[in-house]
Symmetry: C2
Subunit: 506 residues, 2 copies
């Protein structure tokens, strides 16, 4: 179990099949193989030694996939950089991981002079973009064309594959060290339960630096599929890519699904090829799921819950679970490769249904945090990764993540679950996306507050919203106030940050 | 990745689901869990320490599955004994593996006095059979009822799970040491490509001591399925079990498929539930496959090639490959978890299509041979398991095992491929099973000789067979002699031993 293993199989079994589609460019598996072997040789010639770190700061592309494989081939360690970070955060991670070589594309090459200054150990910058490389950078294509291929290092599965920096919202980012085995175990565990299409075509619209999408890269390399990349998510490019390339599988977050599904030109595209949508970051509302099932008639919806430290999947909510009134609010059940339990502060399992911390074990638990032995010891105790997420488990093993089920408003002494109100609001034709929070209220303690992004051209008043809601839910659950916004605060992984909303509307 | 891991998941996700069906007895996952924990406690009370070997000599049963799990739970090592071996071979393996505790059922308890004499280190014999335990043996049920459950050892995936003795036809048997990870990697790799039905019902008709069937035990524990056991293969019991329990998946060898498919009472049973038949040991003839597709209309056929040392799967021939005129004679392509190549005696890969030794690498390659470091070093070189099988690979990665494609007769200077002639003979209504070999002939060098098992009540003359064959194949390929037999010599794994046939008819 080493990342390049799948590339050897693809070369052996389907050398002339299309490995990647990126804009107008298609590359076969044979060509991908030879490019990776040459790029690995190029990295060696740049002085990259076994275990050295190579970072990539780029939008999605075929070169992104090639770089990940070439770094493994050269026995080096990939550091995929979060493209949404500030230059300060990026520099912090490059310095902390002691990165020697950085691959950038045109979208980020303007940052190179500053990064070079902030990261004195960076010895080479490789420009994977169009046209000539800017001054001081090496051309990615020239490196491949002029380097002598080297043999695949193909080390043990225990060796370090990558350092994946997480968060950054609180304190300094932490580098999650994942082995080749870690990444394979999560990918094969998800595949074993039928998540992905064997020999399918997968769309990379979510950012490839994020492990959610990277997991689908690894799974589809293993299953001999074709990878279609668009530089970054936008609804039209996503719809067009699905239709043009008969995409079968995609990893998306609910916000992306919503934007694609609600796009006015959606019906211009034939979306009948899509068989699997894996989504993460947050549950999909009932209303969104219903619209998405209409838009993608052949697609099964699978929710994955996990975190970078779990490579990344711990639980899966299968398609049929979405039709269950209670389970659909859960994060699903332990995937075949994972053990999941809910524990008290002493690490003892709590009785079924009681609240505790979600902990996970298995061969997909990270090696540790880069250069942070104390944080590692705090996170992994007795072999169990402590997720920091609170939750409960029901008698069929469904895990309810507390950030979701405890997202509760107490208004006039009554408990109001945001998800229930959001499901109702989302059904209103004027609503593209919404979030419901509790805001302090003199009379009610908290009042139910709706934050709404309108559908294109639509309007909505509080009275209309209340009329609509009253038909479906009790009066005390109906929003007492409404804010129309252009966007909702999102985490890097596409999750609505309700804490931020609460700050704004407090 | 530890064998008991799946049992924890099954308890968490479907405690009240049926884990095993054995005769009239059904056991839930909750009960299986508690029995395993108690049996592990019982083994500890019998003095079984970490790493000690516990053997089982029994026909298929729910207790077989429980014993395998309990041994892992107790941090011990399972030694499944080949039920077809002579007492001398059995004693050899029990002594070599230094087995302390032996579990036997009623079918083998008569061997216990002799085995106890031959194996002085055997300290306890557990009788997993009906009624009271014979003198000197402990009752399996009493052991479970009176022992205190212990916590699951749940060690690292690298730890030794079992010692699986192979062969015995040449020299002394060798004990193949497989880790928990070895076994899981092969099972998940096969599952990733969609081999097994998630949450399905699997029939154990092939012997559970053999890794082929044991691999399906491990896969279906991972996928939360129900296990239906029959003590040993017979066609009626197999057909009845499929119909009675709506079996979805089964591991069978071609001989078993043939006996079930050609059974005169076959049409009495509803076999429409069967979705997957994994078969191994030898390719299925075109004629057999065609009859089997009629008998099992909903089933996909998947051929697995491998060996115990590979835990056990290296390549898979998928259902659709069976319709391809050339590929159907192959053993398929490298499974997702395996790398396969064809090498020359120096270990260098040979050009495509050229003959060499089939070698395999991956996390499913055995830890080594028990107490045989020299044999281990000879078998695993540079991380590649040398299978000892010769073969070729085509440009799409299909592996042709030489024992199959080189099973060629040279008659009058013409090359005759046995498989082609066998396919023709198998279509004759009087033929239940057949093998074609070359036998020495003064006039032709070798002549094509057919060995046939007749269908019940049928007769066949050489002239009838020649008439039938001439309609489909060239005259030089038509059998010149015929032997009607009651049975064909089979390897323990169900493969027709043509070498034995050649000796008989030389």
């Amino acid at each position: 179990m080493y990342l390049t293993q799948s590339l050897h199989r693809c070369l052996q079994q389907s050398p002339h099949a299309t490995a990647t589609v990126c804009g107008d460019r298609t590359v076969t598996y044979a060509d991908t193989y030879h490019r990776v072997a040459a790029l690995a040789g190029g990295l060696r010639e740049l002085g990259v030694a076994s275990g050295d770190r190579v970072a990539i700061l780029a939008l999605n592309s075929d070169g992104y996939l090639q770089t990940i494989l070439a770094v493994a081939w050269a026995d080096a360690v990939i550091v995929p950089v979060n493209t949404r970070w500030s230059i300060k955060e990026i520099a912090y991670s490059l310095v902390e991981a002691d990165v020697r070589v950085l691959v950038v594309d045109d979208a980020f090459s303007a940052l190179v002079p500053s990064l070079s200054e902030l990261c004195p150990n960076l010895s080479s910058i490789v420009h994977a973009g169009d046209g000539a490389a800017p001054g001081g950078m090496l051309s990615y294509e020239t490196l491949i064309a002029t380097s002598t291929p080297v043999p695949d290092a193909h080390r043990s599965g225990d060796s370090l594959a990558g350092i994946f920096y997480t968060g950054g919202t609180t304190g300094f980012p932490k580098g999650v060290m994942l082995s080749h085995r870690n990444l394979f175990v999560s990918a094969t565990g998800c595949a074993a339960i039928g998540t992905w299409t064997t020999g399918g075509t997968v769309l990379h619209a979510a950012p490839m630096f994020h492990l959610a999408d990277l997991a689908s890269v690894i799974a589809h390399l293993m299953l001999g599929g074709t990878h279609v990349m668009i530089p970054a998510f936008n609804p039209i490019a996503t719809l067009r890519a699905i239709a043009d390339h008969a995409v079968t599988d995609a990893l998306l977050v609910p916000t992306m699904i919503q934007m694609a599904v609600d796009h006015p030109r959606r019906s211009d595209f034939d979306l009948s090829s899509l068989r699997t949508i894996v989504y993460g970051a947050s549950p999909a509302s009932e209303a969104l799921l219903s619209r998405a099932r209409d838009a993608f008639p052949a697609a099964r919806f699978i929710q994955a819950y996990g975190m970078t430290e779990l490579s990344p999947v711990a639980t899966l909510l299968l398609d049929e679970d979405h039709d269950h009134p209670v389970r659909r609010r859960s994060a699903g059940r332990a995937a075949p490769h994972a053990l999941v339990k809910i524990v008290d502060p002493d690490g003892d399992e709590v009785p079924l249904g009681e609240f505790g911390e979600i902990v996970v074990s298995g061969d997909h638990v990270m090696l540790g945090y880069w250069k942070k032995p104390n944080e590692t010891a705090a996170a992994i105790r007795d072999g169990w990764m402590h997720t920091g997420d609170g939750g409960t488990m029901d008698s069929d093993g469904y895990v309810f993540v507390a950030d979701r089920i405890k997202d509760m408003i107490i208004s006039g002494g009554e408990n109001v679950y945001s998800i229930e109100v959001e499901n109702v609001i989302a059904k209103h034709p004027a609503v593209a996306q919404c979030a419901v929070i509790g805001v302090p209220d003199e009379q009610w303690g908290e009042r139910v507050h709706a934050v709404v992004i309108l559908a294109p051209g639509a309007t909505l008043t509080l009275e209309e919203l209340r009329e609509h809601s009253k038909r479906e839910i009790a009066g005390y659950k109906v929003p007492r106030s409404l804010a129309i916004v252009d966007g909702l605060p999102m985490s890097g992984a596409g999750k609505i940050l309700k804490r931020e909303l609460r700050k704004v509307f407090a």
